[in-house]
């Protein structure tokens, strides 16, 4: 084969490889279960979408989020500058496997007097009914409030493609919230994850 032809083939092969290297990681449209921690970014710092969630029935959960009464609430009403949302599913094996680690992460925050009142957590059960979310909470003794997203509407609004996904939201002090963190998949090290959240949220 002539060298020029070989070069042409090499260039074509290179372009195909380049396409594969970037394109192969594109996820499917359906919400799937994500295993090892993979894609983390600092969020896009755009305004966080506005949606409503039901005010929890349990007084302890109400008081944790700084809410009262009944009906619905918006994320901005939660009494902390930083909120970490775990989007999970009752049916997701990877969420099940990381449940105890997430509880541990919550406990670490509760033990830190400088963070306890400033970082709150909630979970959103994608495509789960209230019954399924309650069953998940009971099974893993999840200490923070969980909410069902049976219609997937909220998860789609949040750009979630798989579970678990962690989203960090920060109040900008002007009544709106910005997304500062987006992680698809679980985390390996609780301390490292906490340090990441503290750093990217600007708490320190």
């Amino acid at each position: 084969m002539e060298t020029s032809k070989k070069r042409l083939i090499a260039v074509l092969f290179f372009l195909v490889a380049l396409f594969l290297s970037g394109g192969a990681s594109q996820g499917a449209e359906t919400i799937t279960s994500i295993g090892n921690p993979t894609k983390v970014n600092g969020g896009d710092h755009t305004n966080f979408p506005v949606f409503e969630l039901p005010i929890p029935e349990h007084e302890s959960e109400k008081s944790y989020l700084g809410l009262s009464g009944t009906g619905t609430f918006k994320i901005g009403q939660i009494n902390a500058p930083v909120l970490l949302i775990e989007v999970f599913s009752f049916y997701c094996p990877h969420c099940q496997r990381t449940a105890s680690q997430i509880n541990e992460f919550y406990q670490r925050i509760q033990e830190r007097s400088d963070l306890k009142e400033r970082v709150k957590m909630i979970g959103i059960g994608v495509s789960n009914s209230a019954y399924e979310v309650d069953a998940y909470q009971e099974r893993y003794r999840v200490p923070f409030p969980l909410f069902p997203d049976e219609s997937i509407e909220i998860s789609q609004m949040l750009g979630v493609k798989g579970t678990p996904t962690f989203i960090g939201v920060k109040a900008d002090g002007k009544g709106t919230q910005k997304r500062f963190y987006f992680r698809e998949g679980g985390f390996q090290d609780t301390e490292q994850f906490l340090a990441e959240i503290i750093k990217l949220s600007g708490l320190k």
């Binding site: 490889a17 594969l20 799937t32 279960s33 295993g35 993979t38 009752f90 009914s129 099974r139």
Partner: protein, 208 residues
């Protein structure tokens, strides 16, 4: 001339590296197993003719289990209520996210003195690999998973849930300790049944 040859060879090496790196990234992103789930288009919601109704005596069957040995329906007669979960096929989207939920809902089944039998038309090695990734390397599903592979779909057919393409419906049957069917949900194959409905049906099983 020599330099030119090195150039295109380098480019080839770089290409292979990029392709491999991309594949590795895709593997990592989807968590090791998710990328093995075969994408399925929306299917006809149900595609079979019912042969059974609530109140009928459940047909007996004996099928090989992934854990080894065989399981018969009659072995639970007088001892346990039985929930049968037919799912269409291993490594498909909705099915792969149905049994992992049942796997953490053992308490619900125990509460109603029920056992769960998971059945698909796949063969044992396929079911072994598929169920293994549902619960981690050191654990296993708490309920028996049975293979209705040969004669193909014979039990699914007996229960009126074998579809024309050879897979089963996504169907739930509850059979009480007397061997009588108390609940049938031949579900839209594209959707996962809510655990709520199964829980409600189990609430009634000991009264029927």
């Amino acid at each position: 001339m020599r330099n030119r040859k090195w150039n295109w060879r380098h480019l080839l090496c770089l290409s292979v590296f990029l392709a491999l790196a991309g594949a590795a990234a895709a593997h990592g992103q989807s968590g090791g197993f998710t990328e093995f789930i075969y994408p399925v288009e929306k299917l006809k919601p149900t595609d079979s003719v019912p042969t059974l109704k609530v109140g009928d005596v459940a047909p007996d069957f004996t099928l090989p289990a992934v854990e080894g040995g065989k399981v018969s329906l009659r072995q639970y007669a007088g001892k346990k209520n039985v929930v049968i979960s037919f799912v269409p096929a291993a490594w498909t989207p909705v099915c792969s996210a149905q049994w992992p939920g049942y796997n953490i809902a053992k308490g619900l089944f125990d509460k109603h003195d029920a056992i769960l039998l998971g059945i698909t038309v796949d063969n044992i090695p396929t079911l072994y690999a598929w169920t293994k990734q549902m619960c981690g390397p050191s654990e296993k599903l708490w309920f028996p998973v049975l293979s209705d592979f040969y004669p193909h779909g014979a039990v699914a057919s007996k229960y009126g849930v074998l579809r024309s393409e050879g897979v089963s419906e996504r169907a739930l049957f509850i059979i009480n300790k007397k061997g009588v069917i108390t609940y049938i949900d031949v579900h839209d194959i594209n959707e996962r049944p809510l655990l709520d409905d199964l829980a409600k049906a189990l609430e009634r099983v000991n009264r029927q």
